[in-house]
């Protein structure tokens, strides 16, 4: 089996298992078992690709050294006369994000064993389809293919929230759908414009992302600006960037645990992925010009949502808002374009993966106590550590990963993005980094505030409202701590957080060349400009000198 087949399988297998689950899995356990097997299999497949890319390549190349796509296939033709193809590719950025997705999915399925009470087929079917769409988005190398997958992620999540969510689910689903859909329509317009422009200069239609990127760079500054705005309309909503983040808290609170985990873990990264894959290399001039403004929004988002987190009463809402705050760092890192380094962008990719692991895990933890007590209200909890020490351990662990404690994974991304921002004097610079760093303090404040309320203090448990298995003994009964299934769900995540916190070097090095390649056009813009400035300066000096001479002559 070769790499292109494996890549195709990563999309086809989950789609296929979705169909199978819908049509065949009539018994409730079967749907779960099936999706468990299929997600594990997909993880195994992606692991094969991963190890493969790490060890050997076509001509002895390794992922860690390769700049562009390590695996690449033209795929099969789709619409021939428009140049549409199912082309796929994986560079190291894609590789890590696909790994994140395939790693999270089995854990999500495992964690959802007892989350839904009915309509199992639909639930797991949509989950599988969602996985196919997410992986498709990352590995597509054809613009339309990318966009179709990108948009298709909305539908499964729409149903996951709308059908399996909590009380306000319909509103949440509708807001989520309309918000992101409207935004991405504009993005689509921008991308189509790029294709149209490219067709104009090359003479034939193509939707190959690499080709489009190259020809898009020749657009004029104002054209680039319009395209960047269009791209931002969709991607910024997805990230979500302040002030278009308001759909997220609602969607997160209402979504079932699995939905929240995937939303925070992977779907938000589609936005940042889009920014780094399209915005930076396609419209470098606009990216450089707009970076200071985007940076302002990112910084406002970091601080504004961090303060909001502090006054939340709902655990899930707090974590949802914290995602907005965290992804502000990510966006800041992406637009921290500097002439001599790309720490910000490397850090941003790292941040995407790390945030996916830590926040995904936090949502799983919240889901676990929600299943026991049926409430997410913080003030109903207190001193849980006394009765659920294992859960408390994991919760505190992932909280610490999330606030960026050095030694756990969150730190590396946060440190590098902020450092990249600090050093990028051409675009962002010290002021942005100082402001963002205040977000690190606020991050600690709200997370510890939550931990203090739930874990510390005198024991306080919510009165069960008549659904859980605990309440036949009344609410005084000691709630059961995590069972082995739940521990199995969290341990791999904790291990990944610890590993990436203590040994991120291989990942950073593998990202280096790919990120460098994406940033290169923007860097060139900076070089050009500083040369022009220099010329202007020397010209000015010459003029001054001439004036001076004229003065002395007279």
């Amino acid at each position: 089996m070769n790499a292109p087949t494996l890549m195709a399988l990563l999309i086809i297998l989950p789609a296929l298992s979705a169909v199978l689950i819908w049509t065949c899995a009539h018994r409730s356990g079967l749907a779960w078992a099936w999706s468990m097997i299929s997600t594990t299999l997909i993880f195994a497949l992606s692991l094969v690709l991963f190890v493969w890319s790490w060890r050997t390549g076509a001509d002895g190349e390794r992922l860690i050294n390769s700049a562009g796509d390590f695996f690449h296939t033209q795929g099969v033709a789709w619409v021939d006369n428009l140049g549409l193809r199912f082309s796929m590719g994986m560079d190291s950025i894609t590789m890590w994000l696909v790994m994140l997705t395939t790693f999270l999915m089995p854990l999500v399925v495992l964690g959802s064993r007892s989350a839904v009470e009915s309509r199992h087929r639909e639930f797991f079917g949509w989950l599988m389809l969602l996985q196919a769409a997410m992986i498709g988005t990352f590995i597509a190398r054809d613009l339309i293919f990318f966009y179709v997958c990108f948009e298709f992620t909305l539908i499964p999540l729409f149903f996951l929230i709308g059908v399996f969510g909590s009380t306000d689910r319909l509103k949440a689903a509708r807001v989520f759908f309309l918000y992101t859909f409207t935004g991405s329509m504009l993005t689509f317009a921008g991308l189509l414009y790029v294709a149209w422009y490219s067709a104009g200069i090359t003479g034939s239609w193509t939707f190959d992302i690499a080709t489009l990127t190259e020809s898009a760079q020749t657009m004029s500054t104002s054209q680039q600006g319009m395209v960047l705005l269009a791209l931002l309309a969709g991607f910024a909503v997805k990230v979500p960037l302040f002030p278009v983040h308001t759909w997220l808290p609602l969607a997160h609170t209402e979504a079932p645990t699995a939905g929240s985990v995937i939303l925070a873990g992977v779907l938000l990264k589609l936005g940042t992925y889009g920014l780094i894959r399209f915005a930076l290399p396609m419209v470098p001039e606009a990216a450089v010009d707009f970076a200071p403004y985007i940076g302002v929004f990112a910084v406002i988002g970091i601080l504004y949502t961090a303060l909001i987190c502090w006054v939340q009463k709902d655990i899930k809402k707090l974590i949802a808002y914290s995602s907005v705050s965290h992804l502000g760092f990510c966006v800041l890192g992406i637009f921290a374009i500097a002439g001599n380094q790309h720490l910000g962008q490397s850090g941003a990719v790292l941040y995407m993966v790390n945030h996916g692991l830590a926040t995904g895990a936090l949502f799983l933890c919240v889901g676990m106590i929600y299943e026991r007590f049926h409430t997410r209200e913080m003030r109903q909890y207190g001193g849980i550590a006394a009765v659920m020490p294992v859960w408390s351990f994991f919760f505190v662990f992932f909280c610490l990963a999330s606030v960026g404690l050095p030694g756990l994974n969150g730190f590396v991304g946060e440190f590098l993005t902020t450092m990249g921002t600090f050093l990028s004097r051409e675009t962002l610079g010290i002021g942005y980094a100082v402001a963002a760093a205040f977000g690190m303090i606020l991050g600690a404040i709200y997370i510890l505030y939550m931990v203090g309320k739930i874990i510390f203090g005198p024991l306080k448990l919510p009165e069960s409202n008549g659904h859980g298995p605990d309440d036949q003994h009344g609410h005084h009964a000691k709630p059961r701590d995590l069972n082995s299934r739940e521990i199995t769900t969290l341990v791999p995540l904790a291990a990944a957080c610890l590993f990436l916190g203590l040994y991120p070097t291989p990942m950073l090095r593998s990202l280096d060349r790919s990120v460098e390649q994406l940033v290169e056009p923007a860097r060139q813009v900076l070089v050009e400009r500083s040369r022009n400035d220099e010329h202007a300066d020397t010209a000015l000096v010459q003029i001054d000198a001439r004036k001076l001479e004229e003065g002395t002559d007279r």
């Binding site: 509708r174 329509m185 030694g407 090095r509």
Partner: protein, 729 residues
Amino acid sequence: MDVSMVKWIPWISLLSAAICGVLCFRRAWGVWAAPVTITAIAASFVVAMLAAPSGLLRDDDGRIADALGKSPHDIGQTVKAIDWINLNERDALMDDGSPPATLEEARGLADQHQSARIIESGEAGYSVRVPGLSANFSYYIDPLTLLMLFVVCGIGSLVAIYGAGYMKGDKGYARFFAAVSIFIFAMTSMVMGDNLVLLFLGWEMVGLASYLLIGYYFKKPSAAAAARKAFIVNRIGDLGFALGIFLTYMRYDTVVISEVLAMATSPEHVADWRDYWIPFLLMLGALGKSAQIPLYVWLPDAMEGPTPVSALIHAATMVTSGVYMIARLHPLFENSPYALPTVATIGGVTAFFAATIATSQFDLKKIYAYSTVSQLGYMFLGVGMGVRYAIFGGLFHLLTHAFFKALLFLTSGNVMHGTHGQLDIRKLSGLRHLMPFTCWLMLAGCLSLAAFPLTAGFFSKDAILVGVFEQGLAETDPNRWYVVLGVLGLVTAFLTPFYAFRAWFRVFMGPEKYEMGTEAHGDEEEHAHPSGADSHLIDEDHHAHDDKPHEASWLMLAPLFVLALGALFVGIIGYKPVKELVEGSTAVISTGKESLISADLNLTLIIQIASGIIATLGILTAAYFHWLNRQAGQNLADRLAGPIRVLENKYWVDEIYDLAIVKPLRLLGWIFQLVDTLLVGGLVKLFGWLPRLLGQLARPSQSGVLHGYGLSMLAGVALLVLLILLAAR
């Protein structure tokens, strides 16, 4: 033992932390946590003492070579364990962001960087490859590291032994030792780290350990609040530290300490605005961790943690990390004209300020907590000087303070243990017969804290003050401000024995009288039950058995004797070796050897006599008011009711911070929350309403949700067309 063995030191403790973590699962396994941790710390101590000295630079007669003018690469050794953040090589670029075009340009560029190499790359010209950001688990061993390892692992082992007795029977026994192990991992990583980022890792992780241990009795709301406060206040400092690291990297293109120091002390180095600010940012971190004004407020609250923790983390080791950091990066501080004076001023003022609060507290541990803040102020005063003797004094005081303050905390732990958590000195009196060993051990600690002649504290504190006056009275270019700071130091030297002996005379002298506390062994967890009635019953039961203060077990007393010996004699024994260590470390690579004052002024003798008299006076004052004539003390207190109220309330600093910072921020949070909710609500309404409106216009006969999608799609297409038109223009 080869010096490369030191790379195992932090990881031994991490392993121990993992084992203790596993032992948490069964209460029966918990008893093994103490032996595991003690073994790990003791092993670290042995490795450190055997391996590290072999890596030091020595002169011909075997003594540690003086560091003046030497490169940090020579006086210490770097030992790498594993990669942490180690980026690829990158291209160095010219100032305008372009690659060098000619060989000359490439050479010039290469000279500006450490270990750069020039590659000829065909038609593209030349490229200069320089190392990327590298911050690894890599350790730098110089005499200062050795000194710190001695303190951390040495005192750490003693406190862990004490803790094995103190925490006995506690439900969270294994959890306690797991956190202590994490602490030792972090602290050793910090003092050994060869780069600023690893230093930062240790810096934050000691904060984590401190958080976990202050919040150890997590059911107590006050403990939970104190833990949170400690972490957050420290984070404010850490913000400065992180920014300081960024600026250092911007300036020196590396975060490896020895390389930074080598560049900062090289004769060609010209300081610019970044050198001006780096120390101030780093200092912010030091102020947080070492509890100095304005970030000292967390330390007194941190006394909510178990007493061994107060002794180890909040007195002997963690809180000194700011002092360590300033000493380690001293040349960077010297490059900024106002950095060291600021450090010294903050230190001197904090020393005095905290001492005044300590004189009027009634909680034994709180007194020692403020005393710690005050003594840390002395250390800052010492390392904030540009003269060798003061830097030595600051670091020597770090060592002696570790001994006597750990001793004081642990003996007060004995008191707490013996009286079921009673720490109020108004409710304890004359315990000398009931707790004889504790009584005399604490006396040793108090004498050393009071800097009574010939005790350890006497030598180290005098070294600081001599250094301060040396700079203040320097023959050339004297700075009178340092004289003021020195006098402030002498005034504090009077307050110190007063508050130390006030507590001791109250608790151990006078008529035998006591009120027992309500906690068993300082721990409510032992009989924690959800309902109050149960615990009340058990309390009564407990009291019936032993309602008298009792002496601590031998397991707890044994380490105290070692500490007491240290508190009394480390000044005499340690003076020479520590001076040798400090003068061979990076702290003094750019600090001259010659004295600033004329040789016929015997400053040391004058200061020693003066401070000896001051210490004795302080003790006598305390003895009169708090032992011999307590009524007089009471009368005096009544007459000074106003000022004492200010001191008892700690100048209301906590309240001011709450009102000025916490409350407004939280209010802002509420406002933003409101805005955000309105924004959501408004937008939802808009989305429901806008399509309907448009729908009415377009197709008045239909309504419903579905065509909302269609319409927004339509709107999108319209915008698309508009966009294309605009962009194509």
